[in-house]
Subunit: 297 residues, 2 copies
């Protein structure tokens, strides 16, 4: 097992309305993840709203997380930024604060060319001093990686793994095989998009970068262990049991759902960064009722 | 004439590789725009790479521009930010530094809902103290305004105008009519996307938010004056004469072309914020030859 296989749990970063970190809240989110024995923790991912936080807050969140996990779980840290020099600074900050690897998304305002993205990754991998996970999230970055570009990036010194969006059921076998064919042998292919992750692992993915696991690590871990044991029917049954949560994620976004559940689950009173708005109260009540009915809370 | 009609020229913000403002370079870019008598200047637009600059640099750029124009031309200033509170701070900074209005784009990382965008604009209009131009730029923000949302935003106190992407030739009459039908009477509809702007003005737009005018104000001004005088044939002929420049913009992006032309035109040595890369030398040479052949330089 490496830091880039198995279950990676992505918690929210609890902050107040002004974007100040709730350090105690972060510790309370992390403790059950460590206790459950997840394979890695992804702090400051998209679910951790990294794009909305200052460099200082991001640095502090990594330090708090590193202290909380105390070397028991690898920490993957979102270091994406619009500017290359800022991403390099964030990589160095994260390394010094105790990160095991950086999650680098090609955050964009002006649309980026393939060459610009390649050179951005090469610069951050070369100057940041932190192993990188290629963070492919077209819904937020609006950059579309080709398999060929992922293959070229995977050969850069310092690029350690890739986190791809989970392919749709129709495309999963072809997409995973295509990615596998483009990266070096043994390069860790991981997937996000919780409702597509089980099939992506069955098709050959070795990691699940999971929003749900940031709140509910155990049922996600059972799925990963089942896939790893070759028990695909069991993995699919366990995944099917999560359908009510996946339906909430699809309808309201996984970020908004897990953020909205934190307070009723006794995990502080985190506030989403405006302009992002909290779930309407009725949806939050429905989400809470759903996870209770599923036995998750 | 208001600050939201006629020709608005959008210069680059000249910076070094570290994102530090070249103040003298900015003054040299602005002087010919003032001299040409453009109707407004848009500093820190997408062409002004606002998204890549710190709050301090943005504030300083507005102050330098305000001093340079000395009240002779209204200054429109990009105040977009991922966080609502930051956009409010940028609006206040810009107002204090001498801006006439703020250009507010719904910059996003997590995709935004219509309600989130509406409330973001309401908050910045209400708390920022600066008249706002709705800045609709789906290529960079990835948010798509509906005409109905623009109509609702146009009725918010403090929202003064809208800058829309220039519709394609097939859609221009219908799109401009639809927008005109949704905003209050007299609300200034303006357009960007230089190669579509002439037809958008002929169809009823009252402003052209122009990248080309940031370097070449006079030929753009002739087009606007021709439209305003009802000389549509002449406006179209003048626009057709700009086709070689529009073709460069379409092939390489308007930002990269005007940025690449600044140095050979004697306007300092601005550096694009990495990961954005300069034009390949051959394209820059081609662009320079093109604008020379057009008599623009």
């Amino acid at each position: 097992m490496s830091a880039f296989t198995g279950l990676s749990a992505f918690p929210i970063t609890p902050c107040d309305a002004a974007g100040r970190l709730d350090e105690e809240g972060l510790r309370r989110l992390l403790a059950p993840l460590v206790e459950a024995g997840v394979d890695s923790i992804g702090v400051l991912g998209s679910t951790g709203t990294y794009a909305y936080l200052t460099r200082e807050t991001r640095c502090r969140a990594v330090a708090v997380a590193a202290e909380a996990v105390a070397g028991r779980v690898p920490l993957l840290v979102g270091i994406g930024a619009l500017r290359t020099d800022e991403a390099v600074r964030l990589a160095r900050d994260a390394r010094e604060a105790g990160a095991s690897a950086g999650l680098l998304a090609p955050v964009s305002y002006t649309p980026l060319t393939e060459k610009e993205v390649f050179d951005h990754f090469a610069a951050v991998a070369g100057e940041g001093g932190l192993p990188l996970v290629i963070y492919d999230n077209p819904a937020t970055t609006h950059f579309r990686f080709t398999p060929a570009l992922i293959g070229r990036l995977a050969r850069l010194p310092g690029v350690a793994a890739v986190k791809c969006p989970g392919p749709s059921p129709e495309a999963v076998a072809r997409t995973v095989a295509e990615l596998r064919g483009t990266v070096p042998g043994g390069f860790p292919l991981g997937f996000s998009g919780d409702w597509h992750a089980t099939e992506a692992m069955i098709a050959g993915g070795v990691a699940w970068y999971s929003v749900a696991a940031g709140l509910f690590p155990r049922p996600c871990q059972e799925i990963v262990r089942a896939v790893q044991a070759g028990e695909t029917d069991r993995a699919r049954d366990l995944d099917a049991a999560m359908t009510p949560l996946w339906d909430l994620f699809k309808a309201h976004s996984s970020l908004r759902i897990v953020h909205g559940l934190a307070e009723p689950l006794g995990l502080g009173r985190p506030v989403l960064p405006r302009p992002l708005q909290p779930l309407p109260e009725a949806v939050r009540a429905q989400a809470l009722a759903t996870v209770r009915a599923m036995g998750l809370a």
